[in-house]
């Protein structure tokens, strides 16, 4: 079984524009439609089987927003299965985790077992529900889920791969699971997850005498005497270091020919840090 192909969802945070096509396509597929034996109809309102979270980083005017689509992670060690009656939640050979709407009926505790909050309660049907990975469509020969089909930026991709192939893809594309510390071994992977989990440090360098943008100024970031990164300020004098650990401290050094070099101790905030403009003094 280890070499059999399994379904994975790969989500690129840097390509997600929060268009919500995935969220809405999920509703189109499941609201009012029974897809037995995998799911009974989702209620008209309230469920977010593809739940898109938003996070802003930085401060005006150096800001970005990341969107994290959170479906069921189709974990290899699904806590929902562990907390459910025998056979009520099961994992298929193709990797999909499914809640049997008949066997799981009345078992509200399944809801609370998901550390990702990806399971919803259907009051009318008295059953816990979540993303099925469009199992009924894949059974029919579909090679996409409804959400990946409508994604205009290919931020969402459905990947059928063996564990070995997936491991290669994880390495080559820099994929990572969200919150691996939960230990559930998700089959949903993220690219550019730093936009969600890490912080940036940004600012602008200005030539103090002329008031012009310090294009070409060298900006170096060090931590405990170790050089972390170095960038060149762009035509607006702007620089940005990303992928930094929130809460960490650095030393920032700015150098430009003809100007005194400048050093600042900076702290990277949870929501990222935008420094006040840095004015260089003529040497």
């Amino acid at each position: 079984m280890a070499d059999s192909k399994k379904w994975h969802l790969v989500i690129d945070i840097a390509r997600c524009s929060d268009c919500n096509n995935c969220f809405l396509a999920d509703k189109d597929e499941f609201v009012g439609n029974d897809w037995l034996p995998y799911s009974v109809a989702q209620p008209w309102n309230g469920h977010r089987w593809m739940n898109i979270e938003r996070r802003e980083r930085g401060h005006f005017p150096k800001v970005d927003a990341a969107h994290l689509p959170l479906p069921c992670m189709h974990c290899d060690d699904p806590p929902c299965a562990a907390n459910a009656p025998e056979g009520a939640v099961y994992k298929r050979a193709d990797g999909l985790v499914l809640i049997d709407p008949v066997k799981a009926k009345g078992h509200r505790e399944i809801l609370d077992s998901c550390p990702y909050g990806a399971i919803y309660w259907n009051e009318e049907a008295q059953v816990a529900q979540k993303c099925t990975g469009c199992a009924h469509l894949l059974d029919e020969g579909w090679t996409q889920t409804r959400c990946s089909q409508v994604c205009p930026t290919e931020a969402l991709k459905l990947v059928l791969a063996t564990d070995a192939e997936m491991a290669d893809l994880v390495r080559s594309d820099g994929l990572e699971p969200y919150r691996p510390e939960l230990g559930t071994r998700p089959r949903v992977y993220y690219k550019n997850l730093y936009r969600w989990t890490k912080a940036f440090l940004a600012g602008s360098v200005v030539y103090g005498d002329s008031g012009e943008c310090a294009k070409g100024a060298k900006v170096t970031l060090t931590q405990n005497g170790q050089r972390v990164a170095e960038v060149t300020a762009n035509e607006f004098g702007d620089f940005k270091f990303d992928c930094l650990e929130p809460g960490s401290d650095y030393t920032l050094q700015v150098e430009a020919a003809g100007y005194k070099s400048m050093e600042r101790t900076v702290s990277v905030a949870e929501e990222s840090t935008v420094l006040p403009d840095l004015f260089l003094e003529r040497r």
């Binding site: 524009s17 096509n21 809405l24 597929e29 439609n33 802003e56 005006f60 089909q149 200005v206 607006f236």
Partner: protein, 889 residues
């Protein structure tokens, strides 16, 4: 259970497959092309090959369409307002009265179709007999449900041309200043003042190094219009090629967040100051295309003196612009230098043209400024143009299929683009007609002044609707009522809701309740917005419940070849996927049954069903050359092959830059619109910094200080940062761009799933989904406002209750809430109390962008915000009617 059938349809947000079982739609998916469909183009550029996905990249409200088709807000029977008695005299109240004062308050009762249609027909006959032609005013929304047969230019227009109406002409609502201002600089009225744009995707991929998006958010506004996410992959390609993208917008918009490299945030209404400072930098540093300017423009030297401060006021330095706009002088200079050193596309608005900065006070000057800047860099040369990434794919423009704007079954030569080709193919044996009453010699109303017409206040304005025929069309002065015509006695409203989309819209509500129109009918799919102010409501069905035919995103005559926004030309047979819900009927059917009662049934239908019309339409196009009707009916759509890879490219305005005759497939300018068949539509054939057409207007004694002959000029907003008294009272500038998850009123509210999109509406404990307002923490904190708080946003014109989203993406001092919500939900008396539906246009000014430019200035709107206590407090006192600038008598 029956078999699943896969049918086809098309929407304002793309073509779709519709899976149906047992007369129930079970899913709606984008059309994905198969091997038998037309091929996809490839563009080779900088050593790479670019090809779009072989499927339609559809919009969110299209994905969610099933929820609006089966919406609990669908109207399923004809309705009559309970206290409306058609036997009552106009103005009568109480039992047996018309009780028009209760519109928007009293409920409705179902009536039969026969009752409803008899009543409407009798009223039409009554007002025509008693008052003469034009006493009936009929008005559609801008965007009907998709399809060339059912669209407003088609069935609606055919019916009302037979009946005779006063039509309320539409203003160019999404691009005002481009037509009222831009056209006087570069012509292009045949494109409604917008850019040409052919083949510029290939040009950009090969040559462009930087794109400046100015008041432009194509990922929010469906490219330009209707094209959903078709252009999104192109911006990623450009990014991969290292093309730098700068965004200028008071809001850090969604396209900027996805692909932007730099964000500059001018205060609303000050964009022109920033543009002038860029020009100042180029002029003083000598970094502009002097030869181009010398040979292809007129009046440049005079304008140059204005910018440099030689003869008109102070120099327009970056420091001056910083004081006006808040954009740092050093960043303006840096942008100007970078721009001059790189082949740069200027992307103003979603379609090169459009953009909120053209929908504001003195909004003519920003489009003129955009034209001025790209002119200075050699517009039309390789990689340098006016192009927003959303148009100019290498598709075939020869294959004939008409847009919805080409008249459909109306064949109306006077009020659609039917006369270009289509009417002769569609009606070879006759049967097409226009109505002389709907003409300059007849009677016209103006959409932005409908309330004044309903109040029977005589008024005047300049310019007829979209004024696309010629530049001078926008100078003509119209009066309401036209000489010899009556005031409106009956109002037939069709689709949409102006409360969310027009200006100072409490006017519209008061006009229903306290105006002088004794009978109002609304033909509507959903019970929402404006429908709730009618006396009789006729339930129409959606385009998923009737026959139709249409090409995705095509609106020839407005924006010619607008399907070049898409990656494929997709022509769709729009099949009735299900039977009309409840007792609802197609618009065509409703009009046909009314036409019967009015004695013009045979002329309306020509004995044809909708299916027959669709078939006739098919035969009138090039589709009939490539397939049989039976093949089309079976397949349901056709993908037009792109033009061959070796076909000649005709890059937009390259002919102008190279001093050749125009070689693009554009429809204009018409021969009589340019001298000796060469050059632009302007009188000189060149780009006019001193506008000959505005000079001619001035020569007739019409002096408009907000529409100067020489320009672009910076004219501070009459409701903005310089109106200090008003600013003291209402210190926040509200901008209201086109919405992201809905399209005008399509897709919003109606209990649709779109309501649950977190950035669209927010569910509050009272069970309502509130519209969102975005506010910077610096403005939110002193008001004690947190994300998720309900706030009251208000000014002298009204108040709206919205859900606050505190965000660093806003320029401090500016708040953002999309226009065009579908719902109107007043706390108390309609028109006089806060709205919980989210109609921020209750707050926008009704004053026109300039005294002679009859456009709307939604983005010049000062407001105050406070936490909403939820009490039934009255909104601030509102000003009645339109201001004197519009010539209201």
């Amino acid at each position: 259970m029956g078999e699943v059938q896969r049918l086809t349809n098309c929407t304002t947000g793309g073509p779709v497959f519709v899976d149906v079982r047992d007369d129930r739609i079970i899913r709606i998916t984008p059309i994905e092309f198969d091997e038998s469909d037309g091929p996809t183009w490839t563009i080779e550029a900088r050593g790479r090959k670019f090809s779009p996905p072989r499927k339609a990249l559809i919009s969110p409200w299209t994905v969610a369409h099933r929820s609006t088709i089966y919406s609990p807000k669908r109207i399923l029977t004809p309705l009559k307002r309970v206290d409306f008695d058609p036997q009552g005299e106009p103005g009568s109240t109480g039992k047996g009265g018309r009780n028009t004062q209760n519109r928007g308050i009293s409920g409705y009762e179902p009536i039969s179709w026969d009752e409803a249609l008899d009543l409407v027909a009798e009223e039409i006959i009554r007002v025509r007999r008693e008052y003469g032609p034009g006493a009936l005013m009929a008005e559609p929304s801008s965007h009907h449900t998709w399809g060339n047969i059912g669209y407003r230019f088609s069935a609606f227009q055919r019916f009302f041309n037979l009946v005779g109406i006063t039509y309320a002409e539409h203003n160019p609502d999404s691009w005002e200043g481009w037509l009222w201002g831009g056209a006087h600089m570069w012509g292009n009225t045949h494109r409604l003042g917008l850019a040409e744009g052919y083949d510029l995707l290939e040009d950009a991929l090969r040559h462009t190094e930087m794109i400046v998006f100015w008041s432009s958010d194509p990922d929010t506004t469906q490219g330009g219009v209707y094209a959903a996410y078709e252009s999104t992959p192109r911006r990623f390609w450009l990014k991969e090629l290292g093309v730098k993208m700068v965004f200028i917008d008071p809001f850090f918009n969604h396209t900027a967040n996805l692909v932007g490299d730099k964000w500059l945030a001018p205060r609303p209404g000050t964009d022109v100051a920033v543009a002038l400072a860029i020009a100042f930098t180029w002029l003083t540093e000598g970094t502009y295309d002097k030869e181009y300017v010398a040979t292809k423009t007129v009046g440049f030297d005079q304008w140059k003196d204005y910018v440099l401060g030689v003869s008109y006021g102070r120099p327009k330095t970056p420091e001056w612009a910083e004081a006006e706009s808040g954009v740092l002088a050093r960043e303006i200079r840096a942008l100007a230098r970078e721009w001059a050193s790189k082949k740069t596309m200027l992307a103003p608005g979603g379609l090169a043209g459009l953009g909120g900065a053209s929908r504001c006070a003195t909004g003519n000057e920003w489009p003129r400024a955009m034209i001025a800047l790209i002119t200075m860099q050699g517009m039309g040369k390789p990689g340098i143009n006016m192009w927003s990434t959303t148009y100019g794919t290498p598709l075939d423009t020869e294959f004939f299929f008409p847009g919805y704007t080409e008249g459909g079954i109306s064949g109306d030569l006077a009020n659609s683009a039917a006369g270009k080709d289509f009417v002769y193919r569609m009606f070879p044996q006759g049967g097409a007609f226009s109505n002389p009453h709907r003409s300059a010699e007849g009677t016209l109303a103006y959409r932005l002044l409908i309330p004044e017409a309903m109040q029977h206040h005589p008024h005047s304005w300049r310019g007829r609707g979209f004024c696309g025929s010629h530049i001078e069309a926008q100078f003509v002065k119209y009066e309401y009522p036209a000489p010899g015509y009556p005031m409106v006695q009956m109002y037939y409203r069709y689709g949409g809701s102006f409360i969310g989309t027009m200006t100072e819209t409490n006017r519209y509500i008061r006009a229903y309740r306290h105006g002088k129109v004794p009978f109002v009918v609304n033909q509507s799919i959903w019970f929402e917005g404006e429908a709730k102010f009618a006396d009789i409501i006729l339930p129409a069905c959606t385009n998923f419940e009737r026959w139709d035919i249409g090409e995705w995103a095509l609106a020839n005559g407005y924006v010619t070849h607008s399907s070049l926004q898409c990656n494929h030309r997709v022509i769709v047979l729009q099949k009735p996927c299900i039977k009309p819900l409840g007792q609802s009927k197609s618009d065509y059917q409703i009009f046909a049954e009314l036409a019967d009662r009015l004695g013009v049934g045979p002329m309306f239908t020509m004995g044809r069903s909708e299916y027959d019309w669709v078939k006739q339409h098919f035969q009138a196009t090039d589709l009939a050359k490539v397939m049989t009707w039976e093949e089309f009916e079976k397949k349901g759509y056709y993908v037009v092959p792109p033009k061959p890879a070796d076909a000649k490219r005709t890059y937009g305005l390259r002919w102008f830059a190279e001093d050749r005759e125009r070689d693009t497939p554009d429809w204009g300018p018409n021969p009589w619109e340019h001298v000796r068949g060469k050059g632009l539509q302007t009188q000189s054939g060149k780009i006019e910094f001193v506008s000959n057409s505005l000079k001619r207007l001035e020569a007739t004694g019409v002096v408009d200080p907000e529409r100067p002959v020489m320009g672009p000029q910076y004219i501070p907003s009459w409701e903005g940062t310089k109106t200090t008294d008003l600013l003291a009272k209402y210190p926040l500038q509200l901008i209201m761009p086109h919405p992201r998850y809905s399209f005008h009123t399509h897709g919003d509210a109606k209990d649709s799933w779109t309501n649950e999109v977190k950035d669209h509406r927010v569910l509050h404990p009272d069970g309502r989904y509130y519209w969102i307002i975005r506010i910077n923490p610096k403005d939110a904190a002193p008001r004690g406002i947190k994300t998720g708080d309900l706030v009251r946003v208000f000014n002298d014109r009204g108040s709206v209750v919205l859900s606050a989203q505190v965000t660093e993406r806003m320029l401090p001092g500016v708040v953002h809430s999309y226009e065009s919500c579908a719902e109107y939900d007043p706390v108390g008396e309609p028109g006089e109390s806060p709205d919980r539906g989210g109609c921020v246009n209750l707050l926008s000014p009704s004053r026109f962008i300039t005294p002679t430019s009859s456009g709307m200035a939604n983005n010049s709107c000062l407001v105050q915000i406070e936490k909403w206590a939820g009490a039934l407090t009255q909104g601030a006192s509102a000003t009645q009617g339109a201001s004197s600038e519009q010539g209201v008598a």
